[in-house]
Amino acid sequence: MSETGTFGAAGAGTAATAAEDAAEAVSGARGGHLRADGVVRRIGDRAVLDGVTLAPRPGETVGLLGPNGSGKSTLLRLLAGVLGPTAGTVTFDGDPLPSVGRRAVARRVAVVQQESQTQTEMSVRDVVGLGRIPHRRAWTPVTPDDRRAVDTALERTGLADRAGQSWHTLSGGERQRVQIARALAQEPSELLLDEPTNHLDIQYQLDLLELAVSLPVTTVIALHDLNLAAMYCDRLVVLRDGRAVAEGTPGQVLTPALIRDVYGVRAEVTGEGERPVVRFLRRGDPDV
């Protein structure tokens, strides 16, 4: 069943990704699964997004960078189909998202938000089980497939022994991990993360990104931290005032000139090749 998605072949992740690479090479013209073409989103007169195109290649991790208000979250919400673009299109396998349908989109595209809050008393397993909602039918109890997907997601995220624990007793980092497990239970081919590490200790930030990039899915992740982006992303897209101003590998994108241009701060960029290291400079520091 093609609908169960890439992650359905859990454990055979790399094989699935390789197969998709091949599939993309063949289908070529259709591009990747999920893409945004020239999307515009206006609120009143202001364009929050102003003609951005984003086409992640299957299996890669794309980092979205840019200052607050540059349009990162809006772009992710358009990609998830939660918002509609004012102009331009978001397509999945060539079909515009509205014609794919909300439930079908949710079976392919999973979202992890910056922070998740609930007053509902739920166990970790309950929360992960929410990921099965787009797969379930009304009046039908949980199927063995649902259970298997939840078990796999719990194991993959190292939460198998926490399944019975109450959500409210978890730390911020653990909660984000559970949300990733919930996203995996959706068995998506694309995973969208909106600044998932914002409120976390550094240990949890690294843990979470390590987990995110190890998953056999295409990942688009909005990040604040340039060094984390350089460490974990295959490709970066930089937004400023709703427009994409740079795109490429971390080595190509993260230059002192771009950082000054986009963020208005001086920085020194060191490190060889594709994993540069950014060090910000104080007022008195000499230019490097």
């Binding site: 939660v82 949710a106 609930t118 007053q119 008393e121 309950d126 787009p134 109890p141 109450s166």
Partner: protein, 338 residues
Amino acid sequence: MRRTRPALLLAGGLAALALSVTVTVTIGPASITPAGVWASLGARLGIGESPLTPIQDGIVWDLRMPRTLIAAVCGAGLALCGAVMQSLLRNPLADPFVLGVSSGASTGAVAVIVLGWGGGVVSLSAGAFVGALLSFGMVMLLSLSLGGSMDRVVLSGVAAMQLFSALTSFTVLLSADAETTQGVLFWLLGSFSNVGWADVVLCAGVLAVVMAVCLAHTTTLDAFAFGEEAAASLGVRVARARVVLLTATALLTAALVSSVGAVGFVGLILPHATRMLTGAMHARLLPVTAVIGAVFLVWVDTLARTVLDPQEIPVGVVTSLVGVPAFIAVLYRSRGKS
């Protein structure tokens, strides 16, 4: 956290409900045994002969049975609506009356009783139903024009509740004599006296339809746990789900309130109490809370009509007097566990 199996809970609850109904209809001034009630039911279905005298038969089937059954339907419906509202509005203080349905109903009822609107043709129930729908319509229009988010819905509900309560009080104080005032007050607090089989059939029918709608949306309700945006990204058509579920629960609440008045507490507290047994997932929560609500209200009504016999206490008063201590006890027990 270990939870009782919901199937077991549901089966036990239904058995308890059947038992409660047959026991409570025997409680009262005329002495009748549960066995007699069962035999009489059998006789009505064409099996065996009824041991009841015609008077006893009349007391059971014309007076106590419709009253007991409407209590059961009302308890089930209010608990169901309360559970759905709390999840949909993401507000633990939400209850079936939060959208102004009961306040609108009371204004409608008062317009009929006190002001004589409808010229004697329109019944109290019909007036109340119209009032309830007017209030609900106002809340929906107001909240939609304010952007339609859930907190706007709640605030619009608060506005409607205040407005219609004020209209009700104003009308009663200005135009009603003492006797009418007492009648209105009694109705406002909820009363199962004066209900007949027509009310039972109507309310049970609405309950069945709305229950089916809610059970078809259990995973949708689960999806709202982390908010509307999270629900949307799980494939829920949020605006549609919201309209369908709010309308369904408002209709059921309006039907119940129009028949028996605004019985408080059940729709607010019983869903919380049930969650402690079943967890918060709606496929388990909704059926169980409905059954618990039914059993609860059947017994509360029995207390209401017997404790101070022949004086009757409004059901709404007893629900709170019995329910609040019980709920506090449950809260203390669950504190020990978590």
